[in-house]
């Protein structure tokens, strides 16, 4: 009886034993990374159900209300601030007073019960993000939150993963703008122009780029 396997089967086996797991590992790594970075995992571009179908598009683009009218503490505090029901009612006690969509707002005001909004942009508990310093140093709302002025329902405008944060913390000149344009939407400059302005602003705003990647800047 002849040999069942040809001698090169040994080599094949070795290759399979070593290469098989390696292949599976690499494939797993590749697939896992793709899944992890995908919007499916990060929640990017995903509309979040809210008690009131609030449209930023209508209020910002349509009516021209400034971000700070509702997110009042964005320039002074780590938290941008969510508007108290009273802020909604400052207009809606006069406008759309019987709209069924606004029923939860009126109920909240009448019963003195807050509206529990569902969080759209969620950071991990060990990340300490401060809105006020970003706004002071020329990071526009849309740089992180996307075109909120075009969102009929609000969604997360960026992945909010650490590597995305570091993209700007390593090279802020690619993103920052004059502080007076922070609340402007649709500011889209050609790359070289942005770089030129950005480099100047990094100087003007005394941004220590080498410090921005310290772990302790965001984690404590």
């Amino acid at each position: 009886m002849g040999q069942l396997y040809h001698p090169y089967a040994n080599a094949l086996t070795k290759l399979f034993v070593v290469g098989g797991p390696l292949f599976v590992f690499v494939l797993w790594w590749f697939v896992a990374a793709q899944v992890m970075w995908s919007p499916w995992s990060t929640g990017e571009y995903e509309f979040v159900e809210q008690p009131v179908p609030f449209s930023h598009e209508h209020h910002v683009s349509g009516l021209g209300i400034d971000c700070r009218y509702c997110h009042a503490s964005v320039e002074v505090s780590s938290s941008a601030g969510m508007p108290p029901t009273e802020t909604c009612m400052s207009c809606h006690s006069q406008l759309w007073t019987d709209s069924p969509m606004l029923e939860p707002v009126r109920r909240s005001y009448a019963r003195n019960e807050p509206i529990p909004w569902n969080r759209v942009n969620k950071l991990a508990d060990y990340v300490y993000f401060d809105h006020s310093i970003h706004v002071a140093k020329g990071v526009g709302c849309e740089t992180c939150h996307g075109r909120v002025d075009q969102m009929p329902l609000t969604y997360q405008g960026a992945s909010l993963q650490m590597k995305w944060c570091l993209g700007c913390h390593r090279a802020p000149e690619k993103f920052i703008r004059p502080a007076e344009e922070v609340f402007v939407f649709g500011r889209d400059l050609p790359e070289d122009e942005q770089l030129e302005i950005g480099r100047r602003l990094v100087q003007d705003y005394d941004i220590h780029v080498e410090q921005l990647t310290d772990c302790s800047i965001c984690h404590r």
Binding site: S73, S78, N112, P114, D130, A136, R220
Partner: protein, 1007 residues
């Protein structure tokens, strides 16, 4: 390596090398220190739970599978809940600070409370208030945890069942109708010390309405007769201080200020030649004795005669009949020093001394010209009840005789704190209506007919006076969590028959009091904002010594202590069935949990007690040589029998304890304290008697043969012969300012260039002369940094989590150490940090300002860093110590600016990086640099003596730099080349050389 270190230990024991020691067994020849050489304490790293390996793997497999799944799901829903109508000052993410006070033993401790959107998270001192100057005690820090204590009483109870406030009000209204007829006969009130003007007015009005009613104040911390005058010291004006069994640094209403003043004359800097001198003659070792330059160890019965001897030398009395030769020498020398500093000297009598000695000490102070200079005697700050108000025995007699039909107990727990010879619990059963207002359903609340949950100080409107009499307002930070009521609200029901909100009561009182102010509204607001009414401090009264001696009823000319002074009986070794030995009993409030009121406070329970370093327990403290004579060791259980009462207590050998004396701390052995306090320790109140509240001679001690495990932290990290604690007398410092660097090894050379820190360069300097070991920083650190409490078992395994430890070193003889040094040790933020080199995942790294930062989310728990840390300051979460449940009330206390760590993560001091971040962001927004003093770490902020200074080392003018350029500034283990950012100013003491050279003078020569 191990042998080397051990040899070094032995080598230095020949007297010249090792000057300081930490544990008594270090002094024992041939002591096996191998256990201490392991990085983690014995058993810390082992899994020795009942769970077997198999079961553990099953569980781990299951949890890994679940963890894999949960990783794919989003986290728990996390809604944003804005206000309906946002209060004007509230900005989410920005804390607000409110000035209020934490009443401790009835006296206000003025504080500022940090509030995050309505949630108090941290207590700081009130910098404007004379009793605080920005600092607090450890207890005031821990008051925050009491607010969120899940064991707090949550409902009104009637005969044990749940009732309502309305029912209580109606029941009291019915009682009022009866009292109206009888004039209140049979109505008795029990309160703690009352300094609140509002409460005092309410009590006065009640006693006026019902003249036959009586009010009693049984304070377990001051059980003596009421005083007519009390001293207030000005240690900042004193060059020489003599304390007689007095603990002034902790536990007193004025301790925070006293500690600051005491140390203010001891901050020795280069070129300075003078510092104050403190003598302490005391029985059980206190922190005051530890701070003192000279400490005389006496039995309690010898304190009075010693005071007499000092007085005799100053011409204020007769030389005592019996006094040990050493004490005689002392009296002569101390008296000479006091006389030489006339007008700048003061003698302090401890609270535990009998009134006659207080009178004598007052006469002494008079002779020294101290009155009006270094001490003022004035009317007591606490309102004294009319008649025999402090006499609990009289009340118990009345109760037993059935003459009391209603007993109202406001914030007291007499069933637990009554002396052993007062059958308070039985007497309570004979009272028809008993009302208890208390934060917990404690021993007294449990036996009372009515129990009303007390609101916490951070939930109530009230007022109180500080130690100096300054009226301090108490305002609520949060609505009562559990429908609690204040003493004002309960009293209002008794006085008016109608419930009135606390705000109306307190504000109404002050509106009447300040009726002549036309601008009361704005004045009230300003006062609330500031926290206190300036100018309300008590003035010194001009009573003479003769008057004060008459207030106690007995004359000062026949001190009673003399009859108590017995010759020191020879002791025999104890065996299980031998005759008991007779010793002297010393009872004292516990240095952390007081007289039991803080027993359920996990932060304080886990704080190592200042000198014993015990946690979660009290013990029978005895001196090393007495222990040797009796043949007992640490953790041996002995039976203590005093006047027929017995308790069993574990022994703890304490250096500096007088021979033949046993100290037991009160406050433990609680039957109904809560999950932290119930069952911890033994109840020393069982040895307390009405006529001997602080113990006395005649204690019998018998060995039981049992042992009881105690959890002490001082034995866990040793210095192995290295010169970590440095100290010198001021004379040596003047001669050689660089003494702290003598014999220091050269820092090893390196081939690598140093890193340039061109921005901020954070550093810290700690003045060991100023550190009193009071533990305020320890608790402040716990509160600020969300540090978990792990419990006694875990502490025993060396798994305690407190970032800041205070190492306590002794110098000299084991029985009577001549010097004590406290050294706060936490992460030194080495520039060349050994921990960083060994982390396989870069979870601990340096940032550009020189902080050694810990990245919790990267840490995978190898513990290599801790192994490689020469300072042993890293703490590992061996188990899930912090509850994940965010709906639990205790989660409310967390500082939102600090990550709550999870199991398997290493943690350590961060230099309060959250406070640095906050200051950096504020400075950057204003385009400026951080100012010196803008970043205050939690430990620095509360330090009563300003011993800790933090700041930017690149700022030449910063305070921290000034300290670091002092010649006696040194780094721990600097020879390793770690370049620690935290450095220490060596301790400078001011011993009196005359005490070592004096020839013993016979009493007849002396007087």
């Amino acid at each position: 390596m191990r042998d080397e270190v051990m040899n070094e230990d032995v080598a230095r024991e020949d007297g010249s090398g090792l000057r300081f020691w930490r544990g008594l067994d270090e002094l024992a020849p041939g002591a096996d220190s191998s256990a201490a050489l392991d990085e983690f304490a014995d058993g810390a790293s082992e899994w020795d739970d009942s769970l077997g390996r198999r079961r553990f793997l099953q569980l781990m497999g299951a949890s890994a599978a679940l963890a894999g799944l949960s990783g794919c799901l989003s986290g728990p829903p996390d809604p944003i809940v804005p206000y309906v109508d946002q209060p004007e000052q509230v900005v989410p993410g920005k804390p607000l600070f409110f000035a209020t006070a934490v009443p401790i033993r009835g006296y206000a401790e003025p504080v500022l409370v940090e509030s995050h959107t309505g949630r108090p998270t941290k207590i700081e001192g009130n910098p404007a208030h004379p009793a605080s100057r920005g600092a607090t005690s450890a207890q005031a820090q821990a008051a925050l945890l009491d607010l969120y204590d899940p064991d707090r009483s949550q409902t009104v109870r009637f005969r044990g069942g749940i009732a309502t406030w309305q029912q209580f009000v109606e029941a009291m209204q019915a009682q009022r109708a009866r009292w109206a007829a009888t004039g209140g006969a049979g109505l008795r009130l029990l309160t703690g010390p009352v300094t609140s003007p509002t409460l005092a007015a309410q009590l006065a009005s009640l006693l006026q309405q019902f003249p036959a009613a009586r009010w009693h104040v049984p304070d377990p911390a001051a059980p003596g007769p009421a005083v007519a005058v009390e001293p207030r010291y000005h240690f900042d004006r004193a060059r020489v201080v003599l304390t007689l069994d007095a603990e002034v640094i902790t536990g007193q209403p004025g301790s925070v200020r006293y500690a600051r003043d005491l140390v203010s004359r001891r901050r020795v800097r280069k070129g300075q030649t003078a510092m104050s001198r403190i003598y302490a003659a005391e029985s059980t070792p206190t922190l005051t004795g530890a701070l003192a330059d000279e400490r005389l160890r006496l039995r309690p019965s010898e304190i009075g005669p010693f005071a007499e001897a000092v007085a005799a030398r100053l011409g204020a009395g007769e030389w005592p009949a019996a006094l040990s030769p050493k004490a005689q020498d002392w009296a002569v020398t101390v008296a000479a020093d006091l006389r030489a500093n006339r007008g700048a000297a003061v003698v302090v009598a401890g609270e535990t001394l009998v009134p006659e000695w207080h009178v004598l000490v007052r006469r002494l102070n008079e002779a020294l010209g101290a009155i009006g200079q270094t001490v003022d005697y004035g009317a007591p700050v606490a309102v004294q009840p009319p008649g025999n108000g402090t006499d609990l025995a009289a009340l118990v007699r009345e109760m037993t005789a059935g003459r009391v039909d209603t007993l109202v107990m406001l914030g007291v727990n007499p069933v637990y704190t009554a002396p052993a010879d007062l059958p308070f619990a039985e007497a309570l059963g004979r009272v028809e209506t008993t009302v208890h207002l208390g934060s917990h359903l404690d021993e007294t609340g449990f036996r009372s007919v009515w129990h009303v949950p007390a609101a916490h100080a951070l939930e109530t409107w009230s007022d109180a006076r500080a130690y100096d009499g300054t009226v301090t307002l108490i305002q609520p930070l949060i609505a009562p969590l559990y429908d609690g009521r204040s003493a004002h609200e309960v009293l209002a029901v008794l006085t008016d028959g109608t419930p009135t909100p606390g705000y109306d009561l307190v504000r109404g009182f002050w509106q009447r009091e300040l009726a002549d102010r036309t601008d009361f509204d704005s004045f009230w607001r300003q006062t609330l904002r500031k926290g206190f009414l300036a100018g309300t401090a008590a003035s010194a009264s001009a009573t003479t010594s003769a008057e004060s001696s008459s207030v106690y009823g007995r004359s000062a000319s026949s001190p009673p202590g003399r009859s108590m002074l017995r010759p020191y009986a020879g002791l025999q070794p104890l065996t299980s069935n031998s005759e008991p030995a007779t010793l002297e009993l010393i009872l004292r409030p516990d240095p952390t949990i007081g007289t039991g009121e803080w027993a359920n406070n996990g932060w304080l329970q886990e704080t190592p007690k200042p000198l014993t370093k015990l946690t979660w327990d009290n013990a029978a403290l005895i001196s090393p040589s007495t222990a040797k004579t009796l043949g007992v060791e640490n953790e041996d259980v002995v039976e203590l029998r005093y006047r027929g009462q017995t308790v069993e207590a574990p022994v703890w050998v304490l250096a500096g304890q007088p021979e033949g004396c046993v100290t037991c701390h009160l406050g433990y052995g609680r039957a109904r304290a809560g999950r932290a306090g119930t069952g911890a320790g033994f109840d020393a109140y069982r040895l307390r008697f009405v006529d001997a509240p602080w113990g006395g001679p005649g204690l019998e001690i018998r060995k039981t043969g049992k042992t009881y495990a105690l959890a002490a932290t001082n034995e866990q990290w040793r210095m192995h012969g290295r010169d970590l604690a440095r100290s010198a007398p001021i004379s040596a410092f003047i001669e050689n300012p660089d003494f702290a660097h003598e014999g220091e090894m050269m820092e090893l050379p390196t081939l690598y260039p140093g890193y340039e820190y061109d921005g901020y360069k954070w550093g810290m300097a700690i003045d060991l002369t100023a550190c009193t070991g009071c533990n305020a920083c320890v608790v402040a650190c716990v509160a600020e940094n969300n540090i978990p409490v792990v419990g006694k078992e875990e502490v025993r395994r060396g798994r305690h989590m407190y970032w800041l430890r205070i190492d306590r070193y002794y110098k000299g003889d084991a029985s009577d150490p001549e010097e004590v040094l406290h050294q706060p040790v936490f992460c030194q933020h080495c520039e060349n940090a050994p921990c960083e080199l060994v982390c396989p995942v870069n979870a601990t790294v340096h940032d550009s300002e020189g902080l050694n930062v810990m990245i919790y989310n990267r840490c995978m728990g190898t513990r290599y860093c801790s192994n490689n840390c020469p300072y042993k300051v890293r703490r590992f979460n061996f188990l899930q110590y912090t509850d994940y449940d965010r709906n639990d009330v205790s989660a409310l206390r967390h500082n939102p600016d600090v990550t709550v760590r999870t199991r398997g993560v290493m943690e350590k001091c961060t230099y309060c990086v959250q406070r640095i971040s906050h200051a950096r962001i504020e400075a950057k927004k204003e385009n400026r640099t951080i100012r010196d003093g803008e970043v205050v770490t939690a430990c620095q902020g509360v330090c009563p003596t300003d011993a800790i200074v933090f700041g930017d080392m690149n700022d030449r003018a910063s305070r921290v730099n000034q300290l670091k350029t002092e010649p006696h500034n040194y780094g721990l283990l600097a020879e390793l080349g770690t370049r620690p950012r935290t450095t220490y100013l060596a301790q400078i003491t001011n011993p009196n050389p005359a005490l070592r050279t004096v020839q013993r003078s016979a009493p007849d020569e002396a007087s």
